[in-house]
Amino acid sequence: MISLAGRDIQHDWGKYVFTGIGLGLLIGVTLTMAGVYRGMVDDGKALLDNSGAELWVVQKETLGPYAEPSSLNDDAYRSILAVQGVSQAANVTYLTMQVRSAERDVRAMVVGIASGEAGTPGWPSYLVAGRQITRSHYEAVADVAAGFALGDRVRIRRHHYTVVGLTRRMVSSGGDPMVFIPLKDAQEAQFLKDNDAVLQSRRRTSENPAFNRASVPGLLDAVITSQSRNPYVNAVLVRLQPGYASDDVAGSIERWQRLTVYTRPEMEGILIGKLIATSAKQIGMFLVILAVVSAAIVAFIIYTMTLGKIREIAVLKLIGTRNRTIASMIMQQALGLGLIGFAVGKIAASFWAPFFPKYVLLVPSDTIAGFFAVVVICMLASLIAIRAALRVDPADAIGG
């Protein structure tokens, strides 16, 4: 027995393949949308992974440092280091702002990292070029998504920084690239705006009679100096010694330091449950609609394709072809179309995903789920079409 499905496809394979490509692009769009959704969630997780922390210590009763502003004294980390179970504690600041270079102006999350060696919490965990920061001021490590090259001089607030290293996938939960600079510079950037603002602030202070007293020389200078310092950081990142449970250590810090501490699962809940929840739901709903529409279109195309063969089906029935054979021919064609469509869709999605401005994550589980969905839809659609086809009365082929 020859393969009727194979012969039919071969006979008009151009149209068949084109139909498959059309289906494939639709499937590719759906897979990509799933990738966009997963990419959003992954951005949130990447932020937590990249910080290298097991506990986040933030201002009491805030959801900081990502979901809400949080301010701690920059010497709080010293007492946290003394808590049992803490192996490393490092200050960190986060501020989303514009970073300028000669050619471009990028929205980035500027991260202030404490001095130390590679492995300090907050430091980028791996680089794709260059080196980690070695100087205590005016050096930066930027994510490739920002578009800076090694050696570029970028301006952050009032100072220029030389890009000495590049990272990948170091992004904020919103997908903004991160730029790492020394903590002291970041504290100053968070606090001191531009020179005009600094001058205005000095002027205001010197006009205040409480601070500008002739009988106390040096008072005004002392006040201005204290106002120009920023002793705050946004969070302290903590790593634990092996063998200590994060909940226990978090509890100790909360109790004795009167700060709020979040463990990794809690932080994930905040980031994904609060920060990106709305956007994720938005995309999630669109994904569902897209998937349903894609399924309907695939089903429709297969149904139409089958109905176009009604004449041949009637003749086959007439000359004695079993229903089973006819049904198998239709289903094979539908599945073949589905396979081609799926392959084209996966290939297309993989090729165009890197060009999206935000991260698109194509996970194998989505691919496999998509594959099974396509197969099921093709089978169901072909079954409906087969039913229609087999109802054709071969007697109609014999004219009146």
Partner: protein, 240 residues
């Protein structure tokens, strides 16, 4: 070794009660192996109904049908698998060739034995033989869209013959053809009937070919009447 087709007292009623229509009111027919008979009747005479019963496409109401040496209907189907019956015992030739467009000529013919379980190689050999007998072996590898209408019709005849069915039902096979080609087709049918000992019933009202039949059945109002035909033999000069 077939013994043609015999029909006795075949009746077919459509519908029930007051609206019932008796399309066939007791038809008797016999066609011997190797014989080509004509079946002539106006529309509404029950011609199509008779053809459908003969082709085991619809179920008669009562009567008896014998095909070869097998009783296929005796006030009820005696055969379980009608599809296999149609495939193996009855050949169809229509007005239009109705070839499968995506199979080449050989496979169009070989499909029938393949459906019956015959190995592909043997099926194709048989097909090619028949195509040779019908003088179109040179088209064996072509697709139906690449050959002329007359050649397509011959392929459909080959397909009807390939399973060596005891009976072939030809429904207006010459209707769309001009007289030369029509006579060619009828001549082929006669040749094939003779060669393969097949009983062929040709439903037609084509004046051009009626004279070629030795026996003709007229059907009117659901009953048949036998008539002896002219039985004119087609000579080479009348071929197309």
């Amino acid at each position: 070794m077939s013994t043609g087709i015999r029909i006795e007292g075949l009746k077919k009623r459509y519908g029930e009660g007051d609206t019932a229509v008796d399309a066939l009111k007791g038809v008797d027919m016999y066609v011997a192996p190797g014989e080509v008979v004509g079946l002539i009747g106006p529309s509404g005479s029950g011609k199509s109904t008779l053809l459908k019963c003969l082709g085991a496409v619809i179920e008669p109401t009562s009567g008896r049908m014998t095909l070869g040496d097998e009783v296929i209907y005796d006030n009820g189907w005696k055969i379980k698998d009608l599809r296999a019956l149609r495939r193996d015992k009855i050949g169809f030739v229509f007005q239009a060739p109705y070839l499968i467009p995506f199979l080449d000529v050989t496979d169009n013919v070989a499909l029938l034995p393949m459906l019956a379980g015959v190995p592909n190689g043997i099926a194709r050999k048989r097909a090619v033989e028949l195509l040779g007998a019908l003088d179109i072996a040179h088209r064996a590898a072509g697709m139906p869209s690449q050959i002329s209408g007359g050649e397509q019709q011959r392929v459909s005849i080959a397909r009807a013959l390939v399973n060596r069915p005891p009976v072939i039902l030809a429904d207006e096979p010459t209707a769309p053809l001009d007289s030369a080609r029509a006579l060619t087709v009828i001549q082929i049918l006669h040749e094939m009937a003779h060669r393969y000992e097949t009983a062929i019933i040709v439903v037609t009202h084509d004046e051009k070919i009626i004279p070629t039949f030795k026996r003709i059945y007229h059907i009117r109002d659901g009953k048949t009447e036998e008539e002896v035909g002219e039985g004119r033999v087609i000579t080479g000069a009348e071929h197309g």
